[in-house]
Every structure is written in C-alpha cells, then in structure tokens.
C-alpha cells in the first residue's frame, strides 16, 4: 500500500516536495505520440517563431498539466486521490526549460467523509518565472481509517 501522507500530518502553510523536469523534444515528442498532439508549433522551430515565439517550438500546456498531477501523486502516493486540479497557462515552456512544480497547502477540511487538502500550485521555470498558476484539492487517507477516498 502506498500511503505516503496522512491528513493528520499535513499543516496549512506546508510546502509539498518540488517535482522537476528539463523538457525538450524528447519529452514533447513522446507526449505528442500518446496524446496525438502533433502540432507544428510543438515540433518545428520555424512554426514556433511564426507563432510569435522567437525561440522556436514550445511545449504543450497539457504536458505541464500532467506534471501537476505527477507532483501531487509522488507526494501523496497512489492511495490518495486528486479531486480537483486547475491552472492557467501564463508563460511559454521553452526548449530545455527546467520546469519545477511547487505547491503550498492553503486549507484542509472534512467533507462528505473525505479528508481534503487544498494546495496552491505553480510551475516555475529555471529563472523563477511562474508559468502556470493553479490550485488543487486532494483527498488523503486519515489515520482513523474512517475515510472516503474516491476513485
């Protein structure tokens, strides 16, 4: 069983572990292959520049969305369940960017038998630029064992 984190051990203000990737065509092309996302702006520098990005091709927002999930999963473990995740894409993922998912717990509450934790999140690049502000809610197991985990 992968119970990494219990609700009772989480505190408001706590930061979750950072989750990082240096992204380039090896990551983007793999993602294109599974999500059928072969779009020129993600594959071809000339197309990226034509789309007003001077550095050329750029990464998929959907891949950054996946990275948010990965950060939460790696922190909380398989048994926890993300019930809400949202973000806005504010800056481009350039080739070779080191993207780091960060999160801070903002609230915790019990609701319908679920032990829920709200987390303010973002994906920062290597320059500290916040590229995708987001927010998540995750249902965690309780040490009482009396928890409702969706999924």
């Amino acid at each position: 069983m992968a119970y990494n984190v219990y609700y009772e051990d989480v505190e408001v203000g706590q930061e979750i572990p950072e989750w990082s990737r240096q992204t380039d065509f090896m990551h983007w092309n793999r993602y294109a292959a599974i999500n059928d996302e072969f779009v020129y702006i993600h594959m071809d520098d000339e197309a990226g520049r034509a789309a007003m990005n001077e550095q050329g091709a750029f990464g998929m927002g959907n891949l950054r969305f996946a990275y948010f999930h990965n950060a939460l999963r790696d922190w909380a473990g398989d048994e926890a369940y993300v019930t809400k995740l949202g973000c806005q894409f504010r800056a481009i993922n350039q080739k070779n960017d080191v993207l780091t998912v960060k999160g801070t717990v903002t609230a915790k509450r019990e609701e319908d038998g679920m032990y829920l934790v709200d987390i303010e999140m973002n994906v920062e690049n290597q320059e500290g630029q916040k590229t995708a502000p987001g927010e998540a809610t995750i249902a965690l197991p309780s040490k009482s064992g009396n928890h409702n985990l969706p999924g």
């Binding site: 069983m1 090896m26 990551h27 599974i34 969305f65 999930h69 398989d78 809400k84």
Partner: protein
C-alpha cells in the same frame, strides 16, 4: 480607428448556451495505452507501478491498474473532423483574437482498462471584462466524461478568451 463594440456575445453563443453536444465515445481503454501514457509523462523516470504492474496494482485499493487522471482515451481517432476555418479568425480586430484561459478538472472516478468513455460538452457561461486588452470575453465550456456505467469520471471547466 476600430470602434469598441458594446459586447462580444453573439447570437451563436446565445443559441448554443446549455446545449449539450452529441456524445463522443472512446475505444476501450487498454493496459498498453495506460503504460505508454505513464512513460511519456514521467519521462525519463520510471512511471508509478500503478500504471503498468498488475500485481502491484492489485495490492492497492483500486484492485488493478488505473489510468493517470490526465489520461486521454480519445487520442488517435481513426476518423477525424477537419475543423472548419472560423470566420472570425481571418478578419482581425476586436473580438477575433483568442487564447486559452485555462482549465479546471473535477475528478470523481478513475479510468480502468476496458472502460469506454463518453464525453459531451456545452457552453455554460460567459462574462466580459474591460481590461488591458480592451473588451474581453471569457467563455466557460463544461465537458463531462462518463464511463460505460454512466458514472462521472470528471467534469472540466475550460475558459476560452476572446478580445
């Protein structure tokens, strides 16, 4: 000089509000698709065993392999719709420029191998603001994913921006 319209809401939007699209149905979710998805989004690290190791997955509360929340069972359709060129895209000017305003997913049920997923969407809301881009329209589309048992997998609220 282009005059500022009073609203970017058009008749097409009024007609489409709360009108749910015909369902789009996925092929059955496969173990192999889940494994590949895990590999791609965790590359170059090994993905969690929950996505590829049936023996491990059986030991979890799911009782077997499940797909990552962000898994897309609709990728790679055999027949594809060629999107019609939007009439507004060519003209330029106020209300013809657009961007992705972001998305929020509300998850209820995991996708499992063998699941057949249906999706339907509707324009559910909009609002306008006068900001640094001038008059800006935020349109909210809700997308519902259900499985073959009519259980909600997730609801997505996505926001598109026109200005």
């Amino acid at each position: 000089m282009t005059s500022q319209p009073e609203t970017l809401v058009n008749q097409e939007m009024l007609d489409k509000k709360d009108q749910w699209s015909e369902p789009n149905v996925s092929p059955p979710v496969s173990v192999s698709d889940i494994r590949k998805w895990g590999i791609a989004v965790y590359w170059p690290d090994t993905p969690p065993r929950l996505f590829w190791d049936e023996e491990y997955a059986k030991s979890t509360r799911y009782g077997g392999i499940v797909a990552p929340h962000d898994f897309n069972p609709f990728a790679w359709p055999v027949e594809r719709e060629v999107p019609a060129a939007r009439a507004t895209a060519a003209g330029g000017g106020v209300g013809t420029r657009g961007m992705n305003g972001g998305q929020t997913d509300f998850y209820e049920k995991a996708m499992r191998p063998g699941d057949v997923v249906s999706t339907s969407s509707a324009l559910v809301d909009w609002y306008e603001r006068n900001g640094k881009l001038g008059l800006t329209l935020f349109s909210v589309t809700e997308v519902r994913w259900t499985n073959q048992n009519d259980e909600i997998i997730k609801k997505r609220h996505s926001i598109s921006i026109r200005y």
